[in-house]
C-alpha cells in the first residue's frame, strides 16, 4: 500500500521508516476478542457512554440558556413592579351601600 518512494519527501521517508512495529499474535487475539462476550459488552457500554455524552453536550447548553432566561425574567419582573402601595380600607360602592342597608346622604 505504500506509495512509490519518488513521490515522498524526506519527512515522509522518516515517517515511513518510523512505522510502528507489528505486534506478534495480534491477529489471533483479535479473532478471539470478536467471540468474547465480555469484550463486546464492554464496547457496548463505551458506546452507550458516548451516546450519553452527546446528549449532555446538547442538554447542558439548553439548561444554561433556560436558567439564564428564567433569572432574567425574574429580575425584570422585580424591577418593573416597584414598591407596593398600602392597601385601601374596604369602601362599598353606592349600590353595595344600599344593599348593606347604610344611610346615604
Amino acid at each position: 500500500m505504500m506509495s512509490p518512494p519518488q513521490d515522498r519527501d524526506p519527512l515522509e521517508e522518516l515517517l515511513a521508516a518510523s512505522r510502528p512495529a507489528p505486534v506478534p499474535g495480534l491477529g489471533e487475539r483479535s479473532c478471539a476478542a470478536v467471540g468474547d462476550r465480555r469484550f463486546a459488552r464492554r464496547i457496548a457500554w463505551l458506546d452507550a457512554g458516548d451516546g450519553a455524552r452527546s446528549i449532555l453536550w446538547l442538554a447542558v447548553p439548553l439548561l444554561i440558556a433556560a436558567t439564564t432566561l428564567a433569572a432574567m425574567s425574574l429580575e425584570r419582573r422585580h424591577s418593573t413592579s416597584g414598591p407596593r402601595r398600602p392597601e385601601r380600607p374596604f369602601q362599598p360602592s353606592f349600590r353595595d351601600a344600599g344593599i348593606f342597608g347604610l344611610e346615604l346622604e
Binding site: 500500500m1 515522498r8 519527512l11 518510523s18 512505522r19 505486534v23 491477529g27 476478542a33 455524552r53
Partner: protein, 208 residues
C-alpha cells in the same frame, strides 16, 4: 473525525469490479458466516489496523482498540453492500475508533495530550534496536501531539503510504483538503521534530 465520521458500512455491490483482490471474496465469505475467511481477513490486516489506532491512542490502548476495530468489522459484515474497498472500509473504522477513544480521554480527566505524547516504549534491547526505537518514539510522540484532523492524514499517508484518493475517501474529505492537511501537518512535525523547513512543500499548502 467529527464531520469526518463517515458511515462504517461497506457496500459490496460492484466492489469486485474495482477491487479485484482476495479481500472482497474473503469479506463475502465472512459475511455469510465463514469463520476461517474472517480469520484470514483479520490476520491479513491486523498490523495495518494496529498502526492506525496506535497513532491515535498510543501503545497502552492500541491492542484493545485494534480488537474493537475487528469487532465492529465483524458486526458490519452482516449489512455488507460494497462500494468501497475492504481496506478503505477497515481504515475508516480504525480511524473512527482511534479518534473516538482519544476523545473519550477528554472526559476521563486523567490522561492529557501531553501524557499521551510522553508515552514511551521502554522495553530493553540491543543498541541498534534501541536507536531505531528511539526514532520511532520521537516520531510517534510528535504525531500524537498533532490535532486530530492532521494526525489522521499523517497516519494514513506517512505510516500507511495510501494514495490521496483513498485517504480522501477514508476521511470523507476532498483530495485537496487531505493534501493541504498533510502540508500543515508537515510544518508542525518539522517544528516538533526540530527539522528545517522545506520550501518545496509550499505548493500543497492552501486548504480550500
Amino acid at each position: 473525525m467529527g464531520s469526518n465520521e463517515a458511515s462504517e458500512r461497506l457496500d459490496l455491490t460492484g466492489a469486485a469490479e474495482h477491487e479485484g483482490d482476495e479481500d472482497v471474496r474473503l469479506a463475502a465469505r465472512a459475511a455469510s458466516g465463514d469463520a476461517a475467511a474472517f480469520r484470514e481477513l483479520v490476520l491479513k490486516h491486523a498490523d495495518a489496523v494496529h498502526r492506525v489506532v496506535l497513532g491515535h491512542v498510543g501503545p497502552d490502548e492500541a491492542e484493545d482498540a485494534a480488537q474493537e476495530v475487528f469487532l465492529r468489522m465483524h458486526r458490519g459484515l452482516k449489512g455488507f453492500e460494497g462500494r468501497s474497498r475492504v481496506t478503505t472500509w477497515l481504515y475508516r473504522i480504525a480511524t473512527n475508533v482511534g479518534l473516538k477513544r482519544r476523545r473519550r480521554r477528554r472526559w476521563s480527566f486523567v490522561r492529557s495530550e501531553q501524557a499521551l505524547a510522553r508515552q514511551r516504549d521502554d522495553r530493553p534491547g540491543p543498541e541498534a534496536v534501541m536507536a531505531d526505537r528511539e526514532q520511532r518514539d520521537r516520531v510517534a510522540r510528535a504525531v500524537a501531539a498533532l490535532p486530530e484532523d492532521l494526525r489522521s492524514v499523517v497516519i494514513l499517508r506517512g505510516f500507511e503510504g495510501l494514495p490521496w484518493e483513498e485517504i480522501a475517501r477514508i476521511l470523507d474529505v476532498g483530495v485537496s483538503t487531505a493534501e493541504a492537511r498533510m502540508a500543515r501537518a508537515k510544518d508542525q512535525l518539522r517544528v516538533l521534530l526540530g527539522r528545517p523547513h522545506r520550501s518545496d512543500d509550499v505548493r500543497e499548502r492552501t486548504e480550500p
